[in-house]
Symmetry: C2
Subunit: 432 residues, 2 copies
């Protein structure tokens, strides 16, 4: 049997976290969340965009034929992990809400903040006012930041336009921000993020606009792979969410759902019922919701940055895991409730705010998050045949990511077999 | 009147956070903690190691004579703040306790961890085993990390030697790590951090060793400016702490105190009584303790990284402030209870974990922290005559530090008038 050739090798890794174990397929649940497939003193071999081999460094020479001019990356005794997969963000928006952050800390309520022009409507106003150019530029800056923190694949939602023209603008801005950028983006239409002010007294009218005009327009333009809806008391009812998401599904955009963030509205149950890819937030999920998710293929995506930033209790992660829900982690990056861009910080918060083990947090932030956006065949783990999306962390063990909380330990990033963040911190990305 | 000359200018700052207001002197208390002295569209002028002017950019040309070959730093519309002052760390130690971090998350108790060889004794073992060279090298790497996160002055304690020879080794390693490094260090003797295993059955014997041998040896070698003691139920009693700290004071090392971290033992009262510079932790302080601190010059140093990392409630910061305690913030960087090295993260945790306002957190992390180590005449604020320790943050407003939590927003660092972290992330430090 001929040995595979390779043109890039990562060597001298104290640990390679493959996220693979023989027999483990599909989203990980229960104790399988702890199976990180660590290889001590490991190496990874890549050819083109693809991983061809991973194993103990001592076996590299016999297992792989290394090209004479292969790129050799010295991990310096660090840890190699798959690139983080951030499966829930609101990447494209105008404005900043740091004022509101301070007002929340000083005890103002959501209603007081909204009355002062704050809240999501402030982001809608700023996003509507921004040009597509400006939104694309801001998006690109944010993708650079995500990349420096080790995110190599990210889901991005619209939802600050809340009008056909502005939702399309947001989605086009995302496409332009992403074009030629090393971070892979996945696009989700979230026209049902809120009700726009002009439909405050006619919510059903806006739902009809979503179903009859916006979804067809987004589908026609091919701008979104998924559709999402903020199903929550005071926002979209489960009935409204069902109508929107079924219409989106029929138009080719598979559903995902903002579910049970502040109160249990039956959103998790709806997600399971309609076969949503993921039900996200879940900080107020009911027992019925947990049972529904556990017996479905819908992934429960936890967003600990959001509850932590809002100073409220996080999702009951242990109960979800024990019940058999497959969980993922994401930043929820957005201008209001969570402006965190680092998945390493999210892994730390998953441990310190939600009580996950480091192994569970890494599984949720890589392979399970990849499942949540239907990319697990290509990203989220280190295995032959998968895309070479790799992080080199300046740490001897993956558990140091949450232990040494709050510092960006990413030394270098490889995306599709190419070095895109160099050890000197430079972004090496070829720009479109 | 002749205008001051300057050889370095920081320009194009959306905001300069001076931490100064006319009439404010001494450690800030109560509402004064909110006075950050922000100048919009500001500039800072430096000559040699010293700030000569700060004000609105429009006034720079008339206020200052800029040398023809002056260094001009473009803040790029960012925010300029004083360098962070981290007034409580355990910088010098051997070993890593990420294993223990995981065991804590999985529910093991302190006693179970200690029985498995973990806890502070594990750090004592590794620190005793490490050579002075190795400890100095590790310390220097940690100073580099602190600097990248904007800390320009840091207090560092011994306390993992717990034997004369090893305490002296730790303090010498600190002096060597610090030598020629841009981060200014302040050295504290913490031989009374715990009782070493060899004195487990003879605690008074160890206290006598501290008083009769270690304190004189440290004072003789001139290796520490301050002395500290871990006064806590099960560790040092207030009586033991008093004996140790009064002996240290008499030997020229002013006292500071680990006080009321897990239970109220009267430590805060002791700190006030003996005129300690600071009483640190305070997560379990009593009403009497608060009253004692409020009516003293002792600063209350809060360490939110520690309670957050240990998943326990933080200090009641609002109550301390309302009672009139002058508060400071620090990382507590150590291998056990808090391995956080970023003061920006501590500012974020001060807001999100303790409920401080961003303004209060910045005051506590700069000027008040400088007071806690008797350096407020030179560092902790931006004013003519003070040392030019400046951060350029890639943020339009200081409140974005906690709002955009967990990301290192430090673009560039100036220490004593010299660029020591360049915008490309390079450490420009001249090495000894």
């Amino acid at each position: 049997m001929s040995r595979p050739r390779c043109d890039l090798v990562v060597e001298n890794a104290a640990q390679v976290l493959t996220m693979e174990r023989p027999g483990l397929v599909g989203p990980r649940r229960g104790d399988d969340l702890r199976e990180v497939g660590a290889i001590e003193n490991g190496a990874v071999a890549v050819h083109g965009e693809e991983i061809v081999w991973v194993g103990p460094a001592a076996e590299l020479a016999t297992a792989v034929e290394v090209d004479a001019n292969a790129v050799r990356i010295d991990a310096g005794g660090g840890t190699v992990t798959p690139g983080f997969v951030d499966s829930h963000t609101h990447l494209i928006f105008g404005g900043s809400r740091h004022d509101e952050f301070e007002r929340r800390l000083s005890g103002q309520t959501y209603l007081e903040i909204a009355a002062a022009g704050g809240g999501i409507r402030s982001s809608v106003r700023h996003t509507r006012e921004a040009s597509e150019d400006e939104l694309a530029r801001l998006g690109r800056e944010r993708l650079d930041l995500l990349l420096r923190h080790g995110t190599t694949t990210v889901e991005c939602k619209s939802g600050y336009g809340l009008a056909t023209e502005h939702e399309l603008k947001q989605l086009r801005a995302l496409a332009r921000a992403s074009d030629g950028h090393p971070v892979e983006t996945v696009s989700t239409f979230l026209g049902a993020h809120e009700f726009p002010p002009e439909f405050a007294e006619n919510r059903e009218g806006y739902v009809s606009l979503l179903v009859e005009e916006m979804i067809p327009a987004v589908a026609e333009a091919g701008l979104a792979e998924y559709a999402d809806c903020f199903c929550e008391e005071g926002v979209y009812t489960p009935e409204q969410a069902r109508r929107v998401l079924l219409a989106a599904d029929a138009a080719g955009m598979r559903p995902r759902l903002h579910a049970d963030e502040f109160s249990p509205s039956g959103a998790a149950e709806l997600a399971a019922e309609i076969g949503a890819l993921s039900a996200d937030h879940l900080s107020a999920i009911s027992d019925e919701g947990i049972r529904a998710l556990a017996s479905s293929d819908t992934i429960g995506t936890l967003l600990p940055g959001t509850t932590f930033s809002c100073r409220i209790p996080g999702a009951d992660a242990r109960r979800l895991i024990d019940a058999g829900v497959a969980i993922a982690l994401a930043t929820d990056l957005n201008p209001g409730s969570c402006a965190i861009d680092s998945m390493g910080v999210i892994v730390g918060l998953a441990c310190l705010h939600l009580g996950l083990l480091p192994s569970e947090a890494f599984t949720a932030a890589t392979i399970n998050s990849a499942h949540a956006i239907e990319r697990a065949d290509r990203v989220g783990s280190i295995a032959p045949g998968k895309q070479a999306d790799l992080l080199i962390l300046a740490l001897p063990d993956y558990r140091c990511v949450p232990y040494r909380f709050g510092t960006n330990h990413v030394r270098s990033v490889v995306k599709r077999g190419r070095i895109v963040v160099a050890p000197n911190g430079r972004l090496e990305a070829a720009r479109a």
